[in-house]
């Protein structure tokens, strides 16, 4: 009989398990990357690419910094104080991250055209790119600051309040939440590097657009691969100091522990500050670009064509996103078990997760296309089907599942395994009766989060979806060039309403669970 204590001890199986998890995530890209490094290209990486890297790093840095300046206090205030309609505000803040960034860029562009030439000049610059990318960065920084502040114990907050009033509470909470929020802001900045949409729409040279050009205009995969490798190296060099300094704090922050959590209190002044901050964030990341996106609806809504598109693509969108969410969450939960309680493993997994996140999505997708092409027909069920899309999306977003998986396992008391061992409970029963039920809520949350993020993907779905199985965002993407503006706006409206509904349902489920 294997003892449950096995789960609490170090062992070679942890390293092997983690290696298998991450190799399955980046394995598809390795042959392609090898070809990129060893193959020959007609073009070389020159000064323009270096300049694009610098421009994009600057833009990413600025996006991260702005997200931090607004997101940190907003998240902290929402965690500490009872803001009016806090759940709705948080849900609305998350919503922009669930919509593909190219739609926000189009929304900004359309709004500027309506406003006038001065607005057009302002938006058709790096300003437009940064505003569009903020829709992704701000929500995740707000959420991180919120979750981290909720990690403070009630006694810590009470002690700060007794010592120096609300000012001391705020300073203490901000100090506590700042390192993880900074790291997440940096991750958000890194994520913007692989997004070519806004740069293309606003006519700015970004590194993602350069790599895309190598792929799709020059058909030079070797060059694109080399550019990706170089970008990954630059990003690692830049972020390693941050990971080393702030990583342990974030890892600690996301690791749940048994405690009395902080209870939000009522404060008119702080409440007003909080609502103002949320209003600014929502105005910039949601309301303004959404207005630009939906203005064509004033000329009428194309109900039937939009409904037809929804019926054709809605099921597939749900399938891809749920499939990706479940695979990523389960892989993440397994990863959490393999990491166990080792701080070194947590740091390693965190760094590896960063590596996976900065891979261009097309790299994973093209890796799977080539694999599917060279595999026997029997493998089509996995390599050339809707499951392939789920797999590719899950691989891309697996780091989120891994982080939440680590958090879930870290929240288990080691004494449970000891108690089970003392009473002679076999490992299998301990896993089924204790570990799995304990990991389930975190796994479900990870699945929902990954599902929502996967729902907005376009690049992976375009390259991998089986013929006839489009998703709704891909449909918007393929019709927007020449479809009437009102149809594109109607499709966008449907997509945003669907994302908001799913988000609301998820929040209601979580609220029900916490009660």
């Amino acid at each position: 009989m294997i003892s449950p204590l096995y789960l609490e001890r170090p062992g070679w199986w942890r390293a092997v398990g983690l290696a298998v998890c991450f190799l399955s995530a980046i394995g598809f890209t390795l042959p392609l990357l090898w070809r990129a490094v060893s193959g020959s290209s007609g073009s070389s990486i020159g000064a323009p690419f270096a300049s694009a890297v610098v421009t994009s790093m600057f833009a990413g840095g600025l996006v991260g910094a702005i997200a931090l300046v607004f997101g940190l206090p907003a998240g902290v205030l929402a965690a500490l104080y009872r803001l009016p309609g806090r759940s709705i505000l948080l849900a609305l803040v998350v919503l922009p991250a669930l919509v593909p960034s190219f739609l926000w860029a189009i929304g900004w562009s359309a709004l500027a055209i309506r406003v006038g030439p001065a607005a057009v000049d302002t938006i058709n610059s790096m300003t437009g790119v940064i505003l569009s990318l903020l829709s992704l960065a701000l929500p995740i920084v707000v959420l991180t600051a919120f979750i981290t502040t909720r990690g403070l114990t009630a006694s810590q907050v009470d002690a700060a309040r007794v010592c120096g009033g609300e000012r001391a509470v705020l300073i203490h909470a901000c100090r506590h939440a700042a390192p993880p929020a900074m790291l997440v802001a940096a991750i958000a900045g890194v994520l913007t590097l692989s997004d070519p949409g806004p740069g293309m729409i606003f006519g700015r040279r970004t590194v993602a657009a350069d790599i895309l050009t190598s792929f799709s205009a020059q058909y030079d995969f070797v060059l694109a691969g080399r550019q990706s490798v170089l970008l990954a190296a630059v990003v690692l060099v830049v972020t390693i100091p941050l990971i080393v300094t702030a990583g342990p704090r974030l890892v600690d922050a996301v690791m749940a522990r048994q405690m009395h959590p902080v209870v939000p209190v009522r404060s008119t002044k702080m409440g007003a500050w909080g609502v103002t901050l949320f209003a600014i964030i929502l105005f910039v990341t949601l309301l303004l670009p959404l207005t630009g996106l939906l203005l064509p609806l004033l000329g009428g809504i194309e109900y039937w064509r939009a409904f037809d598109a929804l019926t054709r693509t809605g099921g597939n969108t749900l399938y891809y996103s749920l499939g990706a969410g479940l695979i990523a969450a389960m892989l993440g939960a397994v990863c959490g078990v393999f990491v166990g309680r080792s701080p070194r493993s947590r740091m390693l997994v965190f760094a590896a997760a960063m590596l996976v996140l900065i891979q261009p999505p097309a790299l994973i997708a093209l890796g799977l296309v080539e694999l599917g092409s060279s595999a026997p027909p029997a493998a089509d069920v996995l390599l050339r089907s809707r499951a392939t899309v789920c797999l590719a999306l899950a691989v891309r977003l697996f780091p989120i599942g891994a982080l939440l998986g680590m958090r879930a396992f870290g929240g288990m008391a080691p004494s449970w395994a000891h108690a089970a061992a003392v009473h002679g409970v076999p490992l299998r029963r301990y896993l089924l009766r204790v570990v799995l039920p304990w990991l389930a809520p975190g796994t479900i949350a990870a699945a929902l989060l990954v599902a929502l993020l996967a729902a907005g993907d376009v690049g992976t779905v375009l390259l991998l979806h089986p013929p006839g199985f489009q998703s709704l965002p891909l449909n918007i993407f393929t019709v927007m060039a020449n479809a009437p503006e009102s149809l594109v706006a109607s499709l966008c409206l449907i997509y945003i309403l669907a994302a908001a509904s799913v988000l609301m349902i998820a929040m209601l489920c979580l609220r029900g669970r916490s009660r």
Partner: protein, 350 residues
């Protein structure tokens, strides 16, 4: 409760491959054809649906756009070369079709329906066959450009009366890339380079796509741009203040002519449903399909003579076409995309 949810989730994942076996195996079953297309979905889907009704063969359409935000279907077709999924590639222009021929992705097919189609729009080795065409046009905002100052040539993009108010799409992508290669072919390298440099000197802007050119000229942000006839027609239907000019095609002038961009039907080598693919290509090349595309929002010009088309579609025979060898444009474009055009875009996109 958690256990039930967990079991359901495991069940979902376990069922995924079973549920997917139908779609992955479907491309080899009878009665289907897989069509990849770079023609905008709003124009391609009605034709595919009509084919389904007329023949009973199910069409699985995989659309793409000429927008510059994806790695595109062409890469997917090349990556799938060893064991293709697609039967037919319905290309929006002959250059992508020629690239597929170069890469060994396409197979020769001479359709019985190709009889009335002009040979100059098709590959001599029958790897691609051209039908309904678009043209590259000058689109201008009628509120900003008086009728007596309307442009007549692509060279008007360099005219000082439009200084700081002209735009084109990124010439590394889509039909604009083909137009750029055609200009190099027709004008020669020196004059073509002078055109692109002059465009920037005149305050010209590079936008993301032809659709963006249409939108921003219609909005009055730019006075003049270059786009395709189908883009212009969408703005015309929406009642935007725009008009179009076929460049270098005015009667009595000796301009270089208007670039004509035919659609192309390509049979994929090793197509799983080759017979149905051929039937789909035959269907595309019929006069009725040309007529349907002329009547659609795409307002495409039939290349076959004698096909009826609405009044707003200019008959091809009324246009002096730019004389280009489409097959030679593919290698030229490849060279330019790695050379001058890439450098030009690098220099002028900040």
């Amino acid at each position: 409760m958690h256990r039930i949810i967990l079991m359901l989730a495991i069940g979902f994942i376990a069922m995924m491959p079973i549920a997917c076996s139908r779609e992955s195996g479907s491309s080899s079953s009878a009665g289907e054809v897989v069509v990849y297309t770079s023609v905008d979905e709003v124009f391609a889907r009605p034709i595919a649906e009509q084919f389904e009704k007329d023949t009973g063969i199910k069409v699985r359409l995989v659309p793409d756009t000429e927008e510059t935000k994806s790695t595109g279907l062409l890469n997917r077709l090349i990556a799938e070369k060893q064991r293709p999924v697609a039967d037919v590639f319905w290309s929006g222009d002959p250059v992508r079709a020629a690239i597929l021929k170069q890469e060994g992705v396409s197979a020769p097919y001479r359709s019985p329906q190709a009889g009335g189609l002009p040979e100059r729009f098709s590959d001599p080795d029958h790897h691609w066959t051209g039908f309904s065409a678009r043209a590259r046009i000058l689109i201008y905002n009628t509120n900003l450009v008086p009728a007596d100052q309307k442009p007549a040539s692509v060279m008007d993009l360099l005219d000082e009366r439009f200084e700081g108010r002209v735009c084109i799409a990124n010439p590394l992508f889509g039909t604009t890339s083909m137009h750029a290669a055609a200009l190099f072919d027709v004008l020669g390298e020196d004059k073509a380079r002078a055109f692109f440099e002059g465009f920037i000197a005149n305050g010209g802007r590079i936008l993301s796509s032809n659709g963006e050119v249409r939108r921003r000229v219609a909005a009055g942000e730019f006075a003049l741009g270059i786009t395709d006839t189908d883009d212009f027609n969408v703005a015309r239907i929406e009642g935007k203040p725009v008009a179009a000019v076929y460049p270098d095609a005015a009667p009595g002038t000796e301009g270089m002519g208007t670039l004509i961009i035919p659609n192309c039907a390509v049979l994929i080598a090793g197509a799983p449903n080759a017979d149905n693919g051929k039937r789909f290509i035959d269907y595309l090349l019929r006069p009725q399909t040309e007529q349907r595309l002329a009547e659609s929002e795409a307002a495409q010009m039939p290349v076959r003579s004698g096909v009826e088309s609405p009044g707003h579609v200019t008959p091809l025979e009324q246009l002096p076409p730019m004389t280009v060898d489409y097959d030679k444009l593919a290698p030229l474009l490849e060279e330019l995309s790695r050379g001058y055009l890439k450098q030009w875009v690098d220099r002028n996109l900040q």
